[in-house]
């Protein structure tokens, strides 16, 4: 029977992280980019939990709680920024906001 090992979780986390990362690279909608960040955060969370289970220690799971709290706070700030982008322009594209170009 196929046994689900830690490797499987880590691979899933890597795939999820990569999806999130590529999404960040290619999409320009602020909302989608935001979702990609969340995806990456959760991929990391998955890694933490898998590691915690693998070594039989609780530290990883505690770290995940911290990440969740930070992510929640980030959602508040991030959504506020996205709303203000929508107010400034009709689309949610971030490419227009290139004032910091060198």
């Amino acid at each position: 029977m196929l046994e689900v090992t830690t490797d499987w979780y880590l691979t899933l986390a890597a795939i999820l992280f990569s999806i999130g990362f590529f999404g960040m690279m290619i999409r320009k909608n602020a909302l989608i980019m935001f979702m990609c960040i969340e995806l990456m955060l959760n991929a990391v969370n998955l890694t933490f939990i898998a590691a915690s289970k693998h070594f039989g220690q609780i530290d990883g799971q505690i770290a995940v709680f911290f990440v969740l709290v930070v992510a929640a706070a980030e959602v508040v700030v991030g959504l506020a920024i996205i709303v203000s982008i929508f107010r400034k322009q009709s689309s949610a594209s971030v490419d227009v906001l290139n004032v910091s170009r060198g």
Partner: protein, 642 residues
């Protein structure tokens, strides 16, 4: 009470600072009040200190203010011995008299208070130089004197000539100071101390070669400061400064610093025969060149400037002949009559509304009788007419050179010194001639110019003149063959020095007759040409004298073309060289490297700034690339992987 002599050194400095801080508040009257009282107080303290010192049988007093380091032994200290005592009295006394004159001469000048600030600062520097008990403090004074003379020469810096003259004086002095500094370094290296007393005492144990090297380097310093050949050309140009400042600095005190220094190191100097020969020959050369150049000058102050150089040459001759007392004696008498002549010239310039060309004067005797009389005394004194001051000192120098010839062991040296004596006598004759010409051109010769508006100088100018006139007559009596006053004062200072003694009896009388003869001859020739107009009364046409006389005149007014020679050979080469340095070192290397660095930064930042697109996606790509880099490092670096 013993250390009272330190007060007059710092009093002028305090006055200078005080006047500088209050220069906007004080008007001329208040400035004059403070500066004159300070000068008078300074002189009074000096006089008191000197009398106390004299009553204590001229026993040197030393005061160490601060011990800087113990090995090598470097201190900040002052000393009062015969030599510095004489200089202390001379500097403070003349400073008072000349400041008195200046109050009137500098009246209504825009920078009146600045003048007195510089003046007091100069007096401080000079006193620092003469009162020091070691080479270090002397060097401080030496440099500060150079600085303050620069400030006073280019005092009217709005005149380009004055600014240029100040620079010239400073640069030429720098050549001398360079030698002086090297001399000091060798001294510190050899003796491990700067203290005069210790250096002089241990100089007997040092090889003659070392002493000659030290002496020659110090001599270069003395040549620069005392305007000896070949470093003399700054002094005539320095006449651009205010006349009273010229009187103090370029006649009475500063230029004598070299002579003073050589007498100070005389216990060491006597061990070096080479140095003595160099001193006497350069002194003689200077005395002759300067006296020759003074003959055809028409600027009232330039004649006096060349005359100063020439008289300094006499002092160097005295030092070279081993007659140190005679050198200081001539320094003292010269200070008085040259200050008198300069202040007299200042009075004339003042009355002529800043006209300095002697061809536009003439016949001023009736308009300015007192000035004419006092200048006449100065002229007679410098010409060596007895019993005025210059006679005693100049005669002593001449007699010393003659005696030195008798002392020489080899015939060659003997003949050489006799020749030196004859040439010195010639320089004395020239001195009498050009000074006679100077006086006659200003006060006697009728140039057909109406001077009826010219007035006698104001009282504040006349009084210092009369005072100096009296001194010019009587100061010579401090050291005559019958009364060796100055010799006693300097006895402690020159204790271990072998001083050349004057010949005695009939020989001295014959030598005196010679020197008096030279003085009178010079004056009579001057009178025949410029007073009696001899060349117009008798027909000289048949002698064909026109072209030699014109040649002499031409050479004299161009200073034997030495300035032009120096310009062509040294100055222009130096200018070209420094221009090249400016282009290559400054333009290419320094500017180039600075510009390269700045342009490199500009270019690289232009390239790197292209990566800053302002698009979040691109930044994520960089972030990802960096992540890949980190991961690959983590995997492929064996140590980290462990």
């Amino acid at each position: 009470m013993d250390f009272l002599f330190v007060l007059p050194i710092f009093l002028p400095l305090l006055t200078a600072i005080f006047l500088f801080l209050n220069r906007k508040i004080f008007n001329e009257l208040v400035t004059n009040f403070f500066t004159l009282n300070s000068a008078l107080l300074s002189f009074a303290i000096s006089f008191f200190a000197f009398v106390t010192f004299a009553l204590a049988k001229f026993k040197p007093i030393s005061l160490t203010l601060y011990q800087w380091t113990r090995t090598p032994d470097i201190t900040i200290g002052f000393t009062l011995d015969g030599l510095s005592g004489v200089m202390l009295l001379l500097v403070t006394g003349l400073s008072f008299v000349i400041q008195l004159f200046s109050t009137s001469y500098m009246e209504k000048d825009e920078k009146h208070s600045n003048y007195f600030v510089y003046f007091n600062f100069f007096v401080f520097s000079m006193l620092l130089l003469v009162m020091s008990s070691n080479f270090l403090v002397m060097f401080f004074g030496w440099e500060l004197v150079g600085l303050s003379s620069y400030l006073l020469i280019s005092f009217w810096s709005q005149k380009p000539a004055a600014a240029k003259a100040g620079n010239k004086a400073f640069v030429i002095n720098r050549i001398g100071d360079f030698g002086f500094l090297i001399g000091l370094m060798i001294i510190l290296n050899t003796f491990n101390t700067f203290d005069f007393h210790t250096v002089m005492q241990s100089s007997t144990n040092i090889s003659e070669n070392t002493i000659t090297t030290i002496s020659l380097f110090l001599l270069l310093g003395a040549f620069g400061k005392s305007a000896q050949f070949p470093l003399f050309s700054w002094l005539p140009d320095a006449m651009e400064g205010p006349t009273p400042a010229s009187a103090l600095i370029h006649a009475a005190t500063m230029v004598t610093a070299g002579v003073f220094m050589l007498v100070r190191i005389s216990p060491m100097l006597q061990h070096s025969a080479t140095a003595s020969i160099v001193i006497i020959s350069f002194g003689l050369l200077t005395a002759l060149i300067a006296a020759f150049s003074a003959m055809n000058q028409y600027d009232i102050k330039k004649v006096l400037a060349y005359s100063t150089i020439s008289q300094l040459g006499f002092m160097f001759i005295a030092i070279g002949a081993g007659a140190y007392v005679a050198a200081i004696f001539h320094l003292v008498t010269h200070a008085f009559f040259k200050a008198l002549l300069f202040l007299g010239a200042g009075a004339v310039i003042h009355s002529m509304h800043h006209e300095q060309d002697m061809r536009k004067m003439g016949g001023l005797r009736k308009r300015m009788p007192i000035t004419a009389g006092m200048m006449g005394i100065g002229t007679l004194a410098i010409s060596g007419i007895p019993p005025l001051a210059g006679f005693w000192s100049k005669d002593e120098i001449l007699a010393s050179v003659f005696a030195k010839a008798g002392m020489a062991n080899e015939l060659v040296f003997s003949i050489m010194y006799y020749l030196f004596w004859a040439l010195t006598l010639g320089a004395a004759l020239l001195t009498a001639f050009y000074m006679g010409r100077h006086w006659l051109l200003i006060f006697e010769k009728d140039n057909g110019i109406d001077h009826s508006e010219v007035q006698e100088a104001p009282k504040a100018m006349i009084r210092p003149l009369i005072l100096l006139g009296i001194f010019s007559i009587f100061i010579g009596f401090i050291n005559t063959p019958f009364f060796h006053g100055l010799e006693k004062v300097l006895h402690e200072t020159l204790e271990n020095v072998e001083v050349t003694h004057l010949p005695e009896g009939i020989a001295l009388v014959i030598l005196a007759v010679f020197s008096i003869g030279a003085g009178f001859t010079g004056l009579i020739i001057a009178f025949l040409i410029f007073g009696f107009q001899l060349h117009k009364r008798i027909n000289l046409g048949k002698f064909k004298l026109e072209s030699p006389i014109n040649l002499v005149k031409d050479l004299s007014s161009n200073v034997l073309y030495l300035n032009k020679f120096g310009n062509v050979f040294f100055v222009s080469g130096m200018k070209n060289f420094s221009r090249k340095v400016a282009v290559i070192v400054d333009g290419l290397i320094i500017d180039g490297s600075v510009n390269f660095i700045s342009s490199a930064f500009a270019k690289t930042s232009k390239i790197t700034s292209a990566t800053q697109t302002g698009l979040v996606r691109n930044y994520v790509v960089y972030f990802g690339l960096f992540l890949i880099l980190l991961i690959s490092l983590f995997i492929f670096t064996p140590l980290v992987a462990q």
